[in-house]
């Protein structure tokens, strides 16, 4: 079981299965939503994901067509990235996890939109947008 919670503790979540596919995303939308250099997300099966408490605290923002991002309305913690075309998947902002998810981010995506004040110094593969796209 992997547990997570927002900063104020009102929202608590659990993932009963494995998470996979960790990526650091440098797109401008992730940078703004997180207010950070990049967002880091990993995937869980929706069937394995459960909001334990604070579901009524979660605000959903439709940030682009078919995509929404969620955060705690009390403390602002960014929680999830959700896409309508993949309802079986929940992308979880790793920063709110209390337990080690085991998975390690394996790539940087949208480095074409990277912040000018942040340098990538690791050896992970870098993709200008999505992997597999020019």
């Amino acid at each position: 079981m992997i547990r997570g919670s927002c900063l104020c503790g009102d929202v608590r979540l659990e993932i009963s299965g494995a998470v996979s596919g960790g990526s650091h995303c440098h797109c401008s939308m992730c940078r703004k939503a997180h207010g950070a250099a990049f967002g880091t997300y990993a995937l869980a099966n929706a069937a394995d994901f459960r909001i334990v408490s604070g579901a009524d605290r979660i605000t959903r923002h439709a940030s682009s067509p078919g995509v929404s991002r969620t955060f705690c309305s009390r403390c602002g913690s960014t929680l999830q990235w959700l896409i309508e075309t993949k309802p079986d998947i929940v992308e979880i902002a790793l920063g709110v996890l209390d337990d080690d998810p085991g998975v390690r981010p394996a790539r940087h995506i949208f480095v074409g939109s990277k912040a000018p004040w942040h340098e990538i110094t690791d050896d992970l593969p870098q993709h200008a947008t999505w992997p597999g796209k020019p």
Partner: protein, 133 residues
């Protein structure tokens, strides 16, 4: 002049002075607040900072006594910290800047609380908590 805005564009701000002391903070509160590996922030003088749009959309949460973190209530973008004990300075998360601030984080702090899934691979100084004063 530096400009910044939230993800939905409802909140906009301008900064007319320098950003100072930029750093990356790995403490658990910053990681949770941002939902990210770490927080990159700089200090800005309160007199140099101005909301130009949507100040009423900023929700403040007191994360520890006297420290308030502000975010957009529509899109959740993390925008600013203010301090009851140091009203002359704000803490600015760099992620919502639209312009290049010309400064870069110069150190990592609270690395004892770093996320297990993130490795620091740059050459910047690392401090277990705050740097020695």
């Amino acid at each position: 002049m530096l400009r910044g805005s939230c993800l939905c564009g409802g909140v906009r701000y301008e900064i007319s002075g320098p950003l100072v002391g930029a750093l990356n903070c790995h403490c658990s509160m910053c990681r949770k607040a941002h939902g990210a590996a770490f927080r990159s922030r700089a200090g800005v003088r309160a007199t140099d900072f101005r909301w130009t749009q949507g100040e009423k959309l900023v929700t403040w949460y007191e994360t520890s006594p006297g420290t308030h973190r502000g975010f957009c209530r529509v899109c959740g973008a993390k925008l600013l910290s203010r301090f009851d004990f140091e009203a002359k300075w704000y803490g600015l998360p760099l992620g919502t800047l639209d312009d290049d601030p010309g400064v870069k984080p110069g150190m990592h702090v609270f690395v004892d609380y770093k996320a297990p899934w993130f490795e620091i691979t740059d050459q910047l100084p690392q401090h277990p908590e705050w740097p020695p004063r």
